[in-house]
């Protein structure tokens, strides 16, 4: 890692040049909600002035750039002799992502663990990951962000370049030779002790700005113990099984595979499609038996996956605390309330004062 400082105007020139030369995506303001608050999304950008540099958080995560909602895994072509060939392509065009937050980059790092470690690394993911150039930016948290609780409010790898706002300039963490080569064309200076000070101040400020904190230590154990807790039914009764939370989440990666014939019957293609454990048929097997028949069973699973972790990624918690799911959920279900409920359940039952007497 090399550290440099760049003035804001020079930085804009740099971003403009690199965005113009590449297939680039960055945060843009696309709408205003009914309270007049801006809505940001990662959208194609063709020049620096299209980018909302001061954006807060995007509605959708950057996950789709690595795990598209729908992707062809392979294609079969059938011939007249009733033989077939399977074709698989992994290539991905080079893409530039600008403006990812530390939690977004952490999420990509988590996906790296899931998709690239273990016995069967995913070549589809790898191709996209390798061909994506990430420029990160820090920001002051929204009132409901809780990435600090998940220890994801800072990030030290997984990006090509990271920019911290220190007033008139950006403090750059350059983490790839490509980024360094690009930046050579621009006016940079080495950080002065004063710049370092500003950076530390900035970090402090960000850290102190979190208004939402969730206590997640010991959660894996709680989740195991509370597997049959009535709180799942309570929140499950609200859940619409709409999958919105999983679609906007930067780390939800569960998918389903579909295969369809081409309309001319001369081939077929196998696609994967982002799915969600909240959807009704996620755990249904052939013959119709559903291992998670109730809303609560399914909702629990998402929490189980996020805060307990699964064996395939070392039982690591995969939530980064961006609260996108909480903001997007129409039923008003969010991690903070669910986890607090779970803790309350644990802590009150210690005093023999369980709020849910019909527990078995």
């Amino acid at each position: 890692m090399i550290y440099k400082v760049i003035s804001k105007s020079e930085f804009t020139a740099f971003i403009d040049a690199i965005v113009k030369a590449n297939n680039a995506y960055g945060p843009r303001r696309v709408d205003s909600d009914r309270n007049g608050e801006p809505i940001y999304k990662f959208m194609p950008v063709a020049s620096a002035d299209e980018i909302a540099f001061d954006y807060t958080a995007t509605h959708f995560s950057a996950k789709q750039f690595f795990l598209p909602f729908r992707e062809e895994l392979s294609h079969f072509s059938f011939d007249e002799q009733d033989n077939w060939e399977q074709h698989i392509r992994y290539e991905a065009p080079p893409t530039l992502l600008f403006g990812l937050r530390p939690c977004d980059i952490s999420a990509v790092n988590i996906l790296d663990d899931v998709m690239l470690r273990g016995p069967y690394p995913s070549p589809y993911y790898l191709a996209r990951r390798r061909n994506t150039f990430i420029i990160g930016m820090d920001h002051l948290p929204l009132p409901d962000c809780f990435c600090k609780s998940m220890n994801r409010h800072t990030v030290s790898h997984g990006f090509n370049l990271f920019c911290s706002d220190i007033g008139d300039s950006y403090y750059l963490s350059i983490n790839s030779s490509k980024a360094f080569t690009f930046l050579k064309e621009f006016e940079l200076r080495n950080p002065t002790p004063e710049d370092d000070c500003l950076l530390i101040e900035r970090r402090k400020l960000i850290k102190q700005s979190f208004l939402t904190n969730i206590e997640v230590t010991g959660l894996p154990l709680f989740l195991d113990i509370e597997f049959d807790s009535p709180i799942w039914e309570k929140w499950g009764d609200k859940c619409l099984n709409c999958g919105t939370c999983a679609m906007v989440c930067p780390t939800c990666y569960c998918y389903s595979v579909e295969e369809n014939f081409d309309i001319d019957l001369k081939g077929s293609s196998r696609h994967n499609r982002l799915y969600s454990c909240n959807l009704v048929d996620f755990a249904e097997v052939a013959g119709g038996h559903n291992f998670r028949p109730r809303n609560g069973d399914r909702l629990k699973y998402r929490y189980y996956h996020h805060y307990r972790g699964f064996s395939a990624n070392d039982n690591q918690q995969i939530c980064v605390g961006c609260n996108r799911c909480g903001r997007a959920c129409l039923a008003g279900i969010n991690p903070k309330d669910v986890i607090n409920d779970l803790r309350l359940e644990r802590e009150t039952c210690k005093t023999g004062d369980s709020p849910s007497p019909n527990r078995t």
């Binding site: 009733d82 080079p94 061909n131 189980y304 996956h305």
Partner: protein, 305 residues
């Protein structure tokens, strides 16, 4: 307006060799790491019952055939081109390197398509995947195999294994139950198992017909018929969840240690590689950590039964 100096070069970023071309499996170990399967020809189809058939497959490419090795209890992802994939236990002998046998029930989209296929058709397999029965550890002990219904499919591989290495094991018993006599599969092999493999085989049905001369009742009734040496017995139990739950708790009752009882779990699977999360049981994957689990793990898994 494009400035070449700032363009991300494709070659540079795509530098990982297998981002460009598929890996060459012939140089790899026995595990396959992508969605590319081995092309197989259906060489024979044997009807077993109304809804179950035995499919014999042969990997077309000799080099791939040479590469394909598996252990008893493992499964593969069977691709029926155009229709999709389904996880299926390998039901043949590990020493049979020429053919793979799969015992399949017509259950839904993919399996129904397979039932339309004619001998000679080309399908594809990925795998093998998953954990297996620890046949080596069982050496020197008694083996008790318990199957209910289609549960016999994953048990044929250990049965063949035992036949191949009969002198490694002491008493081998096979208890097999089905709803009705017509649903007992592989009855044509019973004699061979009894006389050639020296396996003590007992069958039972819940609803007998007029020709049925054997035992009637639930599979647990057979457990009362035989004398089990709990100290030295290893058990493999396959069948519907309710059945293995009863059988295992019975065996637990007579003192067989839980980590010497093995079951095979079934869940919906879409990838077989621990990515799609469809097959999760508690926090474990049926495809990576299973399908073979010892009973101790199963009772510790959320949602297993």
């Amino acid at each position: 307006m494009q400035d070449g100096r700032f363009t991300l070069p494709e070659q540079d970023l795509n530098r990982e060799p297998f981002a460009h071309r598929p890996p060459d499996f012939r140089q790899k170990s026995e595990v396959m790491i992508t969605d590319r399967g081995y092309k197989c020809r259906i060489t024979n189809i044997v009807p077993l019952s109304v809804h179950e058939r035995l499919f014999q497959l042969r990997i077309v490419d000799p080099a791939e055939r040479e590469l394909f090795r598996f252990r008893p209890g493992q499964f593969l992802m069977l691709e029926v081109p155009g229709y999709g994939e389904a996880p299926i236990s390998i039901s043949s002998s590990t020493s049979n390197r020429e053919f793979i046998e799969l015992c399949i029930r017509q259950a839904g989209h993919v399996t129904s398509a397979l039932f339309e296929a004619q001998p000679g058709a080309l399908v594809s397999i990925r795998g093998p995947f998953g954990t297996s029965f620890p046949m080596e550890s069982m050496q020197g002990g008694d083996v008790l195999l318990v199957a209910g219904g289609l549960g016999i499919a994953p048990l044929r591989a250990p049965l063949y294994w035992i036949n191949d290495h009969r002198d490694h094991y002491r008493d081998v018993r096979f208890l097999y139950g089905a709803k009705q006599p017509s649903e007992l599969l592989f009855t044509y092999q019973f004699d061979e198992w009894k006389t050639v493999s020296h396996i003590d085989l007992h069958a039972i049905v819940e609803r007998p017909d007029e020709n049925w001369k054997g035992r009637t009742g639930m599979i647990t009734a057979l457990l009362d018929d035989i004398a089990i040496d709990p100290e030295n017995t290893w058990a493999i139990v396959c069948g519907p969840p309710l059945m293995f739950k009863f059988a295992c708790s019975h065996l637990d009752g007579i003192g067989i240690p839980m980590n010497r009882m093995f079951v095979s779990l079934e869940r919906r699977m879409h990838c077989g590689m621990g990515k799609c999360c469809r097959c999760m049981v508690g926090s474990t994957f049926t495809c990576l950590d299973g399908p073979v689990f010892d009973y101790w793990s199963v009772i510790n898994l959320k949602e297993a039964i």
